[in-house]
């Protein structure tokens, strides 16, 4: 199968609140949102490639940049051998009849003032399909029928239709220019489940009938499993893993994919799942974490040399370090808080309180009990003592010196698993990285690999 759409090193950065005046002011910095960062992917002819990830991971931006609905910052895109990123205005217009987008929200993607006929005939006019309006209208009617509506709907306005019917109209519009590829951006996420199923079935039929290739963007793993031949998982503007659908679901290699899969609520109450618990929120792509972007939340983040505690304890230490660095710990507030309860508060009491709060996580409803190895315990406590003494930078430096994950140091590259169609970007799978950290960490990295492979 040859590749129809090839995305090569595509990057899209947005500047936040950019303006001329702001640039001239040294006190104001223009923050860059790294929505998509050096992503390479390809969609083969006749295949459906799924693109999954949580909100803000850049999946929609990637798709829009790939068809130049927004201009990419860097990288190139090829369609059928031609470089899309080098297209002139008129070439780009030609290209629009090859790749069509079906948008997420059928309540927003149709012009409320256009009748269905006008909506469907406009793209045909742009691309000179049909000799005259009479012919185009006939084509519109038959497209509408193919998508499950009727010619009697041609003169109606979008507000007269339900969400599912509107999405059918949007699909008919996309097909009106006879494209060879569809980009479906969360096409069913705004719809009810029973309607979802019907739209997915329709897309399936049309794809088969017309031999369409498809890039299917979704946050819903269950739907992706049903629709796609291959799946790419995105996290914070990067591809974490790409694999044939069954491989991805039965043998996920990236810890993020594993967590994502385990988080989906399964519609079967008898399934007791071993959920991979992800700490914290999805960070913003404004200032993404260094090294592997997933490392702050990763349950398998590689411990530092000589760490002999549990993985959970290691994560607690990293989390503490992160909060300390982000200035989220305030010894004074904690002290005041304690003073409300008792008369005199020693520094040690404040340290203990901070320790209970952030490391032991006492009183948190869904936190498991974790104990640190003795030496780590000592280091953490003395770092907290520094914080209480007013030396936050010293405390951060102390933890930084002793506890830094190799994952934060460099970006993982894609490693190939098995037959070559399955790739993931995780240090645990990088042979050079593993030998290196193996020699440093002894058993632990090997454990990480083993549990990764076991799935």
């Amino acid at each position: 199968m040859s590749s129809l759409l090839t995305i090569d090193g595509l990057t899209k950065h947005f500047s936040e609140k950019d303006s001329l005046i702001r640039r001239l002011r040294p006190d104001q910095e223009v923050r860059t949102v790294r929505a998509v960062d050096d992503v390479s992917l390809d969609v083969k002819e006749g295949e459906t490639l799924g693109l999954v990830g949580e909100s803000g991971c850049g999946k929609s931006t990637l798709a829009r940049a790939a068809v130049r609905l927004i201009e990419p910052t860097d990288g190139s895109v090829y369609f059928d051998g031609d470089e899309v990123t080098g297209f002139s205005r008129s070439e780009l217009r030609e290209f629009r009849s090859e790749v069509q987008v079906v948008f997420q929200d059928p309540f927003a993607s149709l012009n409320p003032r256009y009748t269905v006929a006008k909506t469907l005939m406009e793209p045909m006019r742009v691309h000179n399909i049909g000799a005259n309006d009479t012919e185009r209208r006939e084509r519109a009617a038959s497209l509408l029928e193919r998508c499950g509506l009727g010619a009697e709907h041609l003169d109606r306005h979008p507000h007269e239709f339900s969400g599912g019917q509107r999405q059918r109209i949007a699909i008919a519009r996309a097909l009106s220019v006879e494209p060879s590829m569809l980009i479906a951006d969360e096409p069913v996420s705004a719809l009810d489940v029973s309607v979802q199923a019907r739209i997915l079935n329709l897309l399936d039929e049309l794809r088969e009938e017309m031999g369409l290739s498809m890039l299917f963007i979704s946050h819903d793993m269950s739907i992706v499993r049903r629709v796609c031949d291959r799946v790419a998982v995105m996290y914070l503007g990067k591809i974490a893993e790409v694999a044939p659908t069954d491989r991805l679901f039965t043998d996920p290699q990236h810890p993020y994919t594993q967590a994502l899969l385990s988080a989906i609520p399964v519609p079967d109450p008898t399934v007791e799942r071993d959920r991979v618990h992800l700490e914290g929120d999805v960070p913003t792509p404004i200032d993404p974490p260094s090294g592997c972007r997933f490392h702050p939340r990763c349950p398998k983040v590689i411990p530092t040399e000589g760490w002999d505690g549990s993985q959970a304890a290691w994560q607690r230490v990293l989390a503490l370090k992160r909060r300390l660095a982000a200035d989220e710990l305030d010894a004074e507030t904690t002290r005041e808080h304690l003073e409300d309860e008792r008369k005199s508060v020693s520094d040690d009491a404040v340290v203990q309180e901070l320790y209970d709060e952030h490391v032991a996580r006492k009183g948190v409803a869904d936190a498991e009990t974790v104990s640190l190895p003795p030496d780590a315990n000592d280091t953490v406590k003395s770092a907290l003592q520094r914080l209480v003494a007013g030396d936050r930078d010293g405390a951060v430096a102390m933890l930084e010196r002793s506890y830094t994950t190799p994952c934060a140091r460099e970006e993982p590259s894609l490693t190939t698993h098995g037959a070559g169609t399955h790739q993931s970007a995780c240090h645990l799978h990088d042979p050079s990285f593993v030998t290196q950290s193996k020699s440093q960490n002894g058993e632990l990295a090997v454990d990480g690999i083993a549990s990764g492979d076991a799935r």
């Binding site: 949580e54 909100s55 339900s162 599912g164 009810d192 489940v193 029973s194 979802q196 199923a197 019907r198 997915l200 079935n201 946050h219 793993m221 269950s222 739907i223 499993r225 049903r226 069954d246 679901f249 967590a259 994502l260 899969l261 385990s262 988080a263 989906i264 609520p265 399964v266 519609p267 079967d268 109450p269 008898t270 399934v271 959920r275 618990h277 992800l278 929120d281 999805v282 989390a319 909060r323 989220e328 710990l329 305030d330 507030t333 904690t334 808080h337 409300d340 709060e357 952030h358 009183g363 948190v364 409803a365 869904d366 936190a367």
Partner: protein, 346 residues
């Protein structure tokens, strides 16, 4: 159509009889024949049309259905806070032995946020942008337990810690816009837990969240349910959420509960064709190659529901009887009720 052995006279029961079958007297919350309508110019939309269910102490009940089935209105009706022009015009909501609906507005207010708390879908909208988180989490304590400002703030810190908000001492002074979606929902839960409620009503609590965050919030709700034996009512459109966290489930369609009972039993052995359809059209992330069976047609207009069974126009097994007799739920198993005329409609 199978050879149905049902005697139709059995099935021809009214909402009161259904309530009598479905409800027991000793549950924490017992909803009987609840009716809520929206009256607008020239139209009466019967959003909740005789709904009955029970929630026992420490139990998690799910109400599941598609948009417009009346599940959210049902949850609002329990506390009698349906927005205008809606009104609860029938039925009883017995909470701990007393009917909430006949209480005075003041008594209802005493109950809300105190013994019964609510969490909504959009934490961004439910939190007031001009007050800090601590003030809002502590609000029920000041209202219901007459705590002082500083005491309510101290308690708010405790609550925020409990629901897993990191560094609550600092974050207590933050404003809602400084919180992420998941953190806001945690803050809402902290607020809901303030007065150690007996019942938590959560209306689509995770719909606006990403899956990994959804998993965190669902874990938290389950954990709180176990630790405090607080009963929970979860309103959701997601069968996955129901399967994950609920002990029992009520499936709603067009303002009615069409199937009700034990979650495992209903998923393994759905009796109502709508429940079957709903389960069939949800893709299972653990299963390979599956073709989804879609339910044809659209939800009926609640201002003008069809004669007979509401689901009959979309039901693959509907018969002439279905188009005449309006079925109500009856027992089809141990703690399993279904509102289909036929015992085995397949």
């Amino acid at each position: 159509m199978s050879d149905a052995q049902t005697t139709l006279s059995d099935a021809d029961i009214d909402a009161e009889t259904e309530a009598a079958q479905v409800c027991s007297d000793d549950s924490l919350l017992s909803v009987r024949n609840l009716q809520t309508r929206f009256q607008t110019a020239g139209e009466t939309v019967q959003a909740v049309d005789g709904v009955s269910f029970d929630i026992a102490e420490g139990e998690i009940l799910g109400i599941v259905g598609e948009s417009g089935c009346g599940k959210s209105v049902t949850s609002l009706s329990l506390m009698d806070i349906v927005p205008e022009p809606g009104e609860v015009h029938g039925g009883t909501v017995r909470f701990d032995g007393e009917d909430i609906l006949t209480k005075s507005p003041e008594e209802k207010r005493q109950l809300r946020g105190n013994r019964v708390s609510m969490v909504f879908q959009e934490p961004a909208k439910a939190l007031n942008p001009v007050f800090d988180i601590g003030w809002q989490v502590g609000e029920p304590l000041r209202v219901h337990e007459n705590l002082t400002k500083s005491a309510s703030r101290a308690k708010a810190v405790e609550l925020m810690r409990r629901v897993g908000i990191p560094s609550p001492e600092e974050r207590v002074d933050d404003y809602p816009h400084e919180f992420s979606g998941g953190m806001r929902q945690r803050a809402m839960l902290a607020m809901a837990l303030a007065c150690t409620p007996d019942l938590l009503i959560a209306d689509e609590p995770t719909t606006a969240l990403d899956v990994t965050i959804e998993a965190q919030i669902l874990d938290l709700i389950q954990e709180l349910n176990v630790q405090t034996s607080m009963s929970v009512l979860i309103v959701t459109h997601d069968l996955g959420v129901v399967a994950e966290v609920c002990d029992r489930v009520a499936v709603m369609y067009a303002g009615r509960v069409v199937e009700y009972g034990d979650v495992e039993d209903i998923f393994a052995n759905p009796q109502h064709p709508y429940t079957k359809g709903l389960i069939d059209c949800v893709p299972d992330p653990t299963a390979d190659e599956q073709s989804l069976e879609a339910i044809s047609g659209t939800v009926p207009n609640l201002a003008d529901t069809p004669e007979g069974c509401n689901f009959a126009p979309r039901c693959p097994h509907a018969t002439d009887e279905c188009r005449q007799i309006d079925p109500r739920m009856r027992a089809v198993g141990d703690d399993h009720y279904s509102a289909c005329l036929w015992e085995d409609p397949s």
